[in-house]
Amino acid sequence: MLSERTAFLIFSVIALIGAVNVITRRHPVHAALWLVGTFLGVAGLFLTLGAGLLGAIQVMVYAGAIMVLFLFVILLLNLDAPPDEGLSFARGASLLAAVATLALIALPLARAPELRAAATPESPVADASAGQVANVLFTRYALPFEVVSLLLLIAMVGAIHLARRPRRDETV
């Protein structure tokens, strides 16, 4: 059995390598496949945190359903690998700004005293098992749960409206 820290290191490296490749691969299909890697890495991290249910959902919904949708659209549009995007002044500035944001978020968090306290959970009253999550979902977060159902429905309606083929009499 791996120690928890080793598992953390392995999964984080997977997630980060995947992320770097998502944003650097030129072909969107490659990017999408690397994104699957990231999702799997994050799912592993969930497991190390004891959130088994979420890890499973992450694999099924994200890595499974969502990514299939992505790949489906990419292949449907039959996109070729785009030409090299090059490094213009504007892109350089964007890159710099984005890296600065990263630093401004990651560095303070890395040094935050409140986060460096030894990881001794105050004897958790419950874990993140399916039963516990369900308990939270249907009591404390009952309203958001209902809202999400409407959200999914309306997203479906909207997607159908946008993507269905134009009717014959439809005008601009």
Partner: protein, 639 residues
Amino acid sequence: MSTVGALLLGLPLAAATLIGILHRRLSTRTAGTLAFAMAATCFGLAVAAFTHLRGLPEDARHVAATFWSFLELGRGDAALTLDVGVWLDPLSVTWALFITGVGSLIFLYSISYMEHEAGGARYFACLCLFLFSMLTLVLGKNLFLTFLGWEGVGLCSYLLIGFEYGKETAAQAGRKAFLVNRIGDVGFLLGMFWTWKLFGTLEHGELTPKLAAGLAAGIALPPLLALCYFVGACGKSAQLPLFVWLPDAMAGPTPVSALIHAATMVTAGIYLLCRLSSLFVAADWALDVVAFTGAATALFAGLIALRQRDIKRVLAYSTVSQLGYMFLACGLGAFASSAFHVVTHAFFKALLFLGSGAVIHALHGEQDLWKMGGLKHHLPKTAFAMRIGAFALAGIAPFAGFFSKDEILGVAFARAYAGDPACWVLWGAGVLTAALTAFYSARMITLCFDGSSRLDAHSHPHEAPAPMAIPLNVLAVLSLVGGIGLGFEALHWLPLHHWLAPTLAPLDLPPLPGALLWGLMTLAFLIAVLFWRIGAKWYSGDCEPARAAELTFPRFAGALAGRFFVDEIYGALIVRPLRFLAALALQFDVRVVDGAARGLGQFAALVGTGVRIVQNGTVQRYAFWMVAGAIALLWLALG
């Protein structure tokens, strides 16, 4: 009395609404008659209010009436309650009297003047709305209502300047007027909030007692507070450096110039200063700023007026200059003298504008003084009335302007005499401006009415019809007797001052000895007559435009040579500097006043380029700005 107050505000509003709704059905004459009847009724109401107040004991001469509670913002300590209502006291009634009085005359005049213009009914609707706003400004029972009126008159002025549909200069002038005024309004608004924060009230009736109580309790009144109001007053009353809008505002119809840009609206700044006189007096050095700004404006605008060719621009700059006198008086603490000059100025400047309107009307729109001349043969009545107005403006006794202006100069002198050396400068500037005023008044009259005709060959000017002549005659009479009737300091005949005394901060100045007073008066009279003669002589005869347009030294000296033997010294000391200053002032008019418009254009172009770069239509560019914003927020959050 509250009925009178309600009617004073309600009638103009009702008339404006009625004419505004029916403006397509009503003829100019019907709309004008209706508006005039309304204005005349308002004048009657103002007189009624005046007699009512006269009947009250001197220290109880005020009537407050609340119509409804306008709004209540916040709760508890932070609450601000504002009512809609009127506040009648000597100060507001005085203003209401001349606004409605001069206003009705100008309404009457407009009926004929606008008869052949398109959209006359719309014009009268705007005019009624203006009257409503102006009366709200002076009669409103708190500073907030005054501010509403203040904004309202600005809006009406904007609408009326740009009245002539499709005239691009007029539209631009209207915009400029509104924008510059808005800068002043920001000052007013800031002052109002600050006042509310300090005293917890904006009511005219409560402010002065609370201020007195506060001063007694030892609070220090920040001079900046007074300056906020002063900035507002500068915008509305066209003082340096916010005066740039007024000369351009002459693009509107001439009766509008007479009513709004000479007699009433531009004196709103003086009204504000008088209304807050106790605040200004308590605010340390604020009054000095007022005095020096006023003197500088008076002198500066007087200089610019020397070289204007457009008859209305001469009058516009002279208005700015006279307003400078009024500010000077306020700055010296003589608020009553300032109000006195406001009233006489309303008479003679309205007269001059209406007269010039008659001239322009007769010449079918010609405004260039160099294309006039000899008009006294064609328009004898107008010429006579205008001459009276010009005498009053020049400060020649016994015309109205003489008494009020002399009083202001007297106060400046008395302050200097009492040991304030800076006031010698103010007095000097005032006297110099008086000389300039006499000179350009004479120049205008001479170029317009005397000498030989420079008119187009086929132009046949004719005298204005009766509805235009009657207001001219009435105003001419007022310009003749309005001064001596309201105040003659040397004879201790000061009815206006006594009437206003309960509402204004008193003047803390020992009176000058009688002999000195008479001496100063004689001096002012002599200066006015002398410079009138010089101006008249110089521009009379077959004045050749190209040469006469220049303030050439030999010609100036030649005009003087017959009488005086000091021409050389005179030339070196006065004429050369004068010529230099006048040239400078002309450059200012051309470069700064017109340049401001160009500068705005360049600024706008710069903004356009900036927007195109930032808003280039790509998601990446927008995301970049979002990330930049996130960086800034994170940076600030992490301190």
